[in-house]
Amino acid sequence: MMVTLKLVCTEKFFGQNNSFMSAVTLKNCIKKYGDFVAVDDVSFEVQKGELFGLIGPDGAGKTSVFRILTTLLLADSGTAIVEGHDVVKEFQEIRNKVGYMPGKFSLYQDLTVQENLEFFATIFGTTIEENYELIKDIYDQIKPFSNRRAGKLSGGMKQKLALCCALIHKPEVLFLDEPTTGVDVVSRSEFWQMLIKLKEQKITIVVSTPYMDEAKLCDRIALMQNGKIMSVDEPKNIIKSFPKTLFAAKAKNIYKLLQDFRTDKEIESCDAFGEFIHITLISEDANEERVKEIAKKYNPENFKVKIIEPTIEDTFIRLMREQNNLGELKEIVNGK
């Protein structure tokens, strides 16, 4: 039994019609607003059942990508397919199959919690009861307030209601645009617990966030900046791709150390990371002793250094700099 199941799955995954098995396929997508290129030749694929993260700051192009995929925005060029349907030709099919939670709270403020949920169930031709299992865990937390108007809910409650409304028609793909922005550490961690539970119910989830520490909770992530995707992979592979030895150093006066290191010719990069600064050296054979030698020049008090594993944020910063350098090179080549 297990073997057959496995075979079927494998066949499906690696079958001829590959795009059929992807929940989302975006190919060479471009979206411009006037001269501004919001989405700059973006391609990626999300597998069914995957928890996929779009990681990047405001203005990276995340929301435009979401709006293209949820058929709310037309791309200038490129193709986008969701659950086997083209976003332009078959937008109606897609709208029935996806749930979308926009970054901005978009429920009806004057309707109660219950009324909002009923409204969304009805327009999708279903009932709350029919798909109650799916939202139960989340809805239970806001049930005590079911007669309260949505506009009067707290931030965390609004977020939970919005998620319930996006789930009520049992979508195959769930799009969540920055669900945790501006939310404190505790609520953020609770929200991700909910997402991981939803994933167990085989829903494909595409989620965006500006918080790099949330990236590691995704199966795969795309790092986005200036409308471009800098890297798409599993978080652990993205971390592995960091090409240099990374050091974490600290001293009593961390800010002075940072300033000193910035001027040092042997140091390639140094960035503040909480109580530490993260450093890479220009030289390929870097070790802790070498960093200590360099530090000696500046007489830092209580200097400590160790080799560490890079975080997603380290990688993001590095890729951003590479992108910027490339941009500058292009400008030089183009004679600007």
């Binding site: 990047g56 707290s154 931030g155 939310v183 404190d184 505790v186 503040a272 909480g274 993001f316 910063i317």
Partner: protein
């Protein structure tokens, strides 16, 4: 004795039965970078509004830059700067117009505004954009400009309400460089953030839960007390039992 930029004693703000701020007491020294953290709905914004002279407390005492929050609100406003991610600059004014407007509001003289705005624009590397509308600037530049504008009149204290939300990781760090510079020049910095790595950049932080200040110390001491290596965990330990979750 060390001068205090902010002093709060049992400061309380009540809306009906609801104690948004519940007897908070703390002091911030001049030139300090003070992180004001808390769960959503803990009462940070309410407390900050009182300290900025925008709202009266129900009871307790507080002074900001030596001025009383009950009787000297206007003097407080003149001596502080404020910036938040949500409200900072006017998109429909140019960079220079924004500086001129804020400088004027805070009573900086015209010749001084003229001289120093040119300086500022140069320092930020925005000479080419100086006469362009702020609305068209990338977010990172806007944030840096907003901060510079908030300290343009050389206030004693600057209040920063989640200044780096949504900003890319490089700009976020450049922003903190500016905070350090401001602090080094003697400006007291009072900052809120949801990034726990940024909490580490503060000299001291306080963590608010359900209207009360539950902890206040240097990041290193707090981590020691909670026997952990990350500020995330300190925050989590303190805030996970929060009853309130309003915004």
């Amino acid at each position: 004795m060390e001068n205090k930029a902010i002093v709060c004693k049992e400061l309380t703000k009540q809306f009906g039965d609801f104690k948004a701020v519940d007897k908070i007491s703390f002091e911030v020294s001049e030139g300090e970078i003070f992180g004001f953290l808390g769960a959503n709905g803990a009462g940070k914004t309410t407390a900050m509004r009182i300290l900025c002279g925008l709202s009266y407390p129900t009871s307790g005492e507080a002074s900001v830059a030596g001025f009383d929050v009950y009787k000297q609100q206007e003097k407080i406003k003149k001596n502080i700067g404020y910036m938040s991610q949500k409200f900072s600059l006017y998109d429909n004014l140019t960079i220079l117009e924004n500086i001129e407007f804020y400088g004027g509001v805070y009573g900086v003289s015209r010749p001084e505004i003229k001289e120093r705005s040119t300086e500022l624009v140069k320092m930020l590397g925005l000479e080419k954009e100086a006469k362009k509308l702020v609305g068209g600037l990338p977010l990172g530049w806007k944030q840096k400009l907003a901060f510079s504008v908030a300290v343009f009149h050389r206030p004693k204290i600057v209040f920063l309400d989640e200044p780096t939300g949504g900003v890319d990781p490089i700009t976020r760090r450049q922003f903190w460089d500016m905070i350090y510079e401001a602090a080094a020049s003697g400006i007291t910095v009072f900052v809120t953030t949801h990034y726990m790595d940024e909490a580490e950049y503060c000299n001291r932080i306080s963590i608010m839960v359900d209207g009360r200040v539950e902890a206040i110390d240097s990041p290193a001491e707090l981590k020691k007390r909670f026997n952990t290596t990350s500020m995330d965990e300190v925050f989590y330990e303190l805030a996970r039992n929060a009853q309130r979750a309003a915004d």
